[in-house]
């Protein structure tokens, strides 16, 4: 039986995140004040038969560990 798994991929702390910065600048322009530390990452959803292998998938393909952190969330 397969399980639904979500992988959240984020830029590592301290890495230049121009997408996050652009969103952070755009929000006050729309009247949404008080927003800080915006970061933009990726959400990858997958059905897997063996959820224990998702970490390996992240290390090899889904994330680049040099620049990204990942978090595995079982739905």
């Amino acid at each position: 039986m397969s399980r639904r798994v979500r992988v959240l991929v984020r830029p590592k702390a301290g890495i230049l995140d121009p997408q996050g910065q652009a969103v952070e600048r755009a929000l006050p322009a729309l009247g949404f004040e008080g927003v800080a530390n915006v970061h933009v990452g990726r959400l990858i959803e997958l059905d897997v038969e063996d959820a224990s292998r998702v970490g390996e998938m992240c290390e090899k393909l889904l994330a680049n560990p040099l620049i990204e952190d990942y978090e595995i969330v079982e739905a």
Binding site: I15, L16, P18, Q19, L61, L62, N64, L66, I67
Partner: protein, 223 residues
């Protein structure tokens, strides 16, 4: 000598790369689904959008069948040049240090840039002079070279940065103005600007030819 120029689905600069190689030697296009490098003396991983740049630039291409052979070729000391997307692929494949992030401005930029040759005693720059400025076009959205602090220090200490953007030319935000970096062994090199587009006076500069000439010199000296 003969160059092999890779072609992935989505590659778009392989023909210019082939024409550049043919100014200093012979060149063959190698298809991503093949494993045979056909006995070439050097490999060029050209620019474009391999596999649509899905997931991350270069992330899927590194697992192409031909890349297994390229990685083996590189481990055996064969010269490998990665240009733009090819640079991204080689970083993803672990053949070159660091990673390429989106340009600081988030914009696609296409312009002529001046580069400074940091080291001229290498496989890829022996036809240049140390400190020489090269005028080569760059065109990319994801060309901001980055490496974590310790890795960057090691890369600098080893003299692996062969090309830097000249003062005021670092439009993408690359760490320490890095435009092109080699591996520790010195036989793999990648850069974001496109030397293959600067090999004919018709397009404004022939400075890019020096990188291809350097590889040919190197191979010629080691046959």
């Amino acid at each position: 000598m003969r160059f092999g120029v890779l072609r992935f689905p989505g590659t778009c600069d392989e023909v210019d790369a082939q024409l550049a190689c043919e100014r200093v030697g012979e060149a063959t296009i190698l298809w991503h689904g093949d494993r045979d490098l056909q006995g070439v003396d050097a490999v060029v991983v050209p620019g474009g959008f391999s596999y649509g740049d899905y997931l991350r630039v270069g992330a899927i291409a590194r697992f192409a069948p031909i890349m297994e052979s390229v990685i083996q070729f590189a481990r055996e000391g064969g010269p490998v040049l990665g240009i733009c997307n090819g640079f991204q692929v080689l970083c993803e494949a672990g053949l070159l240090p660091g990673a390429l992030l989106p340009n600081r401005t988030l914009r696609f930029v296409c312009r002529q840039v001046d580069l400074v040759v940091e080291h001229a005693d290498t496989v890829f720059t022996n036809a240049c002079e140390q400190g020489e400025r090269l005028s080569i076009p760059a065109k990319h959205t994801t060309g901001c070279w980055y490496a974590p602090h310790e890795l960057h220090e090691r890369v600098e200490a080893n003299g692996q940065v062969l090309l830097r953007y000249a003062p005021g030319e670092n439009f993408n935000g690359s760490l320490a103005d890095v435009a092109g970096v080699r591996n520790e062994a010195g036989n793999v090199f990648g850069l974001m600007p496109h030397p293959e587009h600067a090999v004919d006076p018709l397009t404004g500069s022939v400075d890019g030819l020096k990188l291809f000439q350097s590889i040919a010199n190197h191979v010629g000296a080691h046959v």
